[in-house]
Symmetry: C2
Subunit: 301 residues, 2 copies
DNA sequence: AAACAATGCAATCATTATGATTGCATCTAA
DNA sequence: TTAGATGCAATCATAATGATTGCATTGTTT
């Protein structure tokens, strides 16, 4: 039966590949609505994609061809309902699903966002400026430097040239990883602290590019366990899907300290840094030797 | 000139509204690529949407009709380049943009995710099970209760019936806001702690629904300032886009403590709770009287 | 200098997808 | 029993798309 299910799945994928992009989007919408709302009607499809009646009916027919056991029409409610045998015909990533549930199905750009009244993503307190992000992204993509104004916590506003290679969300804010020509080293720059960003037309030197960013290239193994002082470690083990009471993750050394801070991991050797909200402890503290900005993490002497 | 630009914008929106959904998606892709990468070619469009050559050429023609000053064809690079006068013809939300930059342009379901090598969203350590999310979401959408197994930190694994009304990301994990029939009150349940979820066919009582969830319905005004012990408050004020050195946000009382915890806001009255990573202080501590689960926030006696 | 290759374009024609209309089926409400 | 609102299939018209041809522009190879 496992073999037969895999065969059917392959045939479904083959048929999906033969469809146009627009058709595929509409079938994904039907599949998504059935799975997460339990029902879907022609009017839902028409409302979302602005198609005609006939096209919607054909879309449902196509979906029924692909997965006849997934849905059943109930004239009482005038809509299709998800069956108990439902098997999604699209692959799902939990974060992508939750994004779609909170913002609405779609890319969020063509037709904007439709905020949900039932699913709410995390509250964001920091909103980078789109024009700044766009300038930085174009510099990264075209391997260029930028001349910018920047307000740092330590030295106020300065002007400098940097060569950015990545934009990263550290859990609280978005920052740029870049080579700083002022300090001749790779550093992080918070996106909201740029006062202006102008692309530089000149060349970028090899040592200013990401392959020479040692902390960026270094991958470290982080091992996390439920904090030893927690009485019910099983709930924590479930949360983090731990195996043998442990979660191992590979992170770039440049990013690791931010992750430890965001998740409030106790990094002290004797696990003495237990404070409010702390559920995890670092099981391999020797790894902190590989992380230059480790002082950002909790529990570092 | 401001008036004339608004008139042009209205005309662009009118023309966009006349296009089919698929056409709009492709124009959004062109616009997005120009803004964030600085250039786009026919092959990019074909690769992303699997269209034919002629359709791509027509798409570029349509885009040029709408925004002739946005792009210019350079035969040397055989692609279109963003001009200095570029004005996006689609509205942008920073978070949506950053999601698209990190996961690729699209809904992430029809054709999956294309992880970027230049833009990285926050590392997630907790991944809810899609089947559990789907069951809970169907219960919420159809106003039903669920019978579930749940592993709590305090009492281990129990079986209970709940009536969920919302799914919320508290900054670290996704949880369900639901009426707990076991304790006869509204509570939060971490999504990764469910062992099973079955929908209940029976009725839901009025007092079990979200209008009776007082903490959910109560909106509280949170006022945040840079922590008084920070020497360079200007960078912090820029980060949080503060006005007059202050950021005011409206949050549901049920969610507020999580936000204060995630952002490590010092809630102590005398601002004595300054620890690593703390940049903000609560300017109106009297608000904590309205928040039942305020003990989750830092600095509460 | 000429030929080739790879992008771009427009025009034309064929194919496919979509939209409108008509007639019918199912269910609920009046 | 009738009306209304969903669903369907079939038919025909329209719009979007795909393939092909010829041309323009630029860089590379011969």
């Amino acid at each position: 039966m496992e073999y037969q299910n895999n065969l059917i799945e392959t045939q479904i994928n083959k048929k999906l590949a033969e469809l146009t992009h627009a058709q595929k989007d509409r079938l994904a919408f039907i599949d998504f609505s059935l799975q997460f709302f339990g029902h879907v009607a022609r009017t839902d499809l028409i409302q979302r994609f602005k198609t005609g009646l006939a096209a919607s009916t054909r879309d449902f027919s196509t979906y029924k061809e692909l997965a006849p056991d997934n849905l059943i029409l109930r004239h009482q409610t005038k809509s299709y309902h998800r069956t108990d045998d439902f098997q999604s015909i699209f692959k799902h990533d939990p974060e992508v699903i939750l994004t779609s549930l909170s913002r609405g199905f779609g890319n969020g750009i063509s037709t904007g966002v439709q905020p949900s009244e039932q699913c709410f993503d995390a509250v964001r307190l920091i909103h980078p400026n789109v024009a700044i992000i766009a300038s930085i992204m174009r510099a990264i993509h075209n391997k260029q430097g930028v001349k910018c104004g920047y307000v740092s916590v330590s030295s106020g506003e300065t002007e400098r040239a940097i060569v950015p290679h990545s934009i990263v969300n550290n859990g609280h804010r978005w920052h740029v990883r870049a080579y700083d020509r002022k300090h001749n080293s790779f550093r992080d720059f918070v996106c909201t602290r740029f006062t202006y960003v102008d692309l530089i037309q000149g060349p970028v030197h090899v040592h200013e590019a990401s392959p020479y960013d040692q902390q960026w290239q270094q991958i470290v193994d982080i091992e996390l366990v439920p904090h030893p002082k927690i009485k019910q470690p099983r709930a924590i083990e479930m949360d983090y899907n731990m195996s043998d009471g442990k979660l191992s993750i590979q992170l770039r050394a440049a990013v690791a300290a931010y992750v430890l801070r965001q998740w409030q991991v106790d990094c002290s050797v004797d696990h003495s840094e237990l404070h409010l909200g702390c559920q995890l402890a670092l099981a391999n503290p020797e790894v902190i030797k590989l992380i230059e900005n480790i002082s950002l993490a909790p529990g570092i002497a």
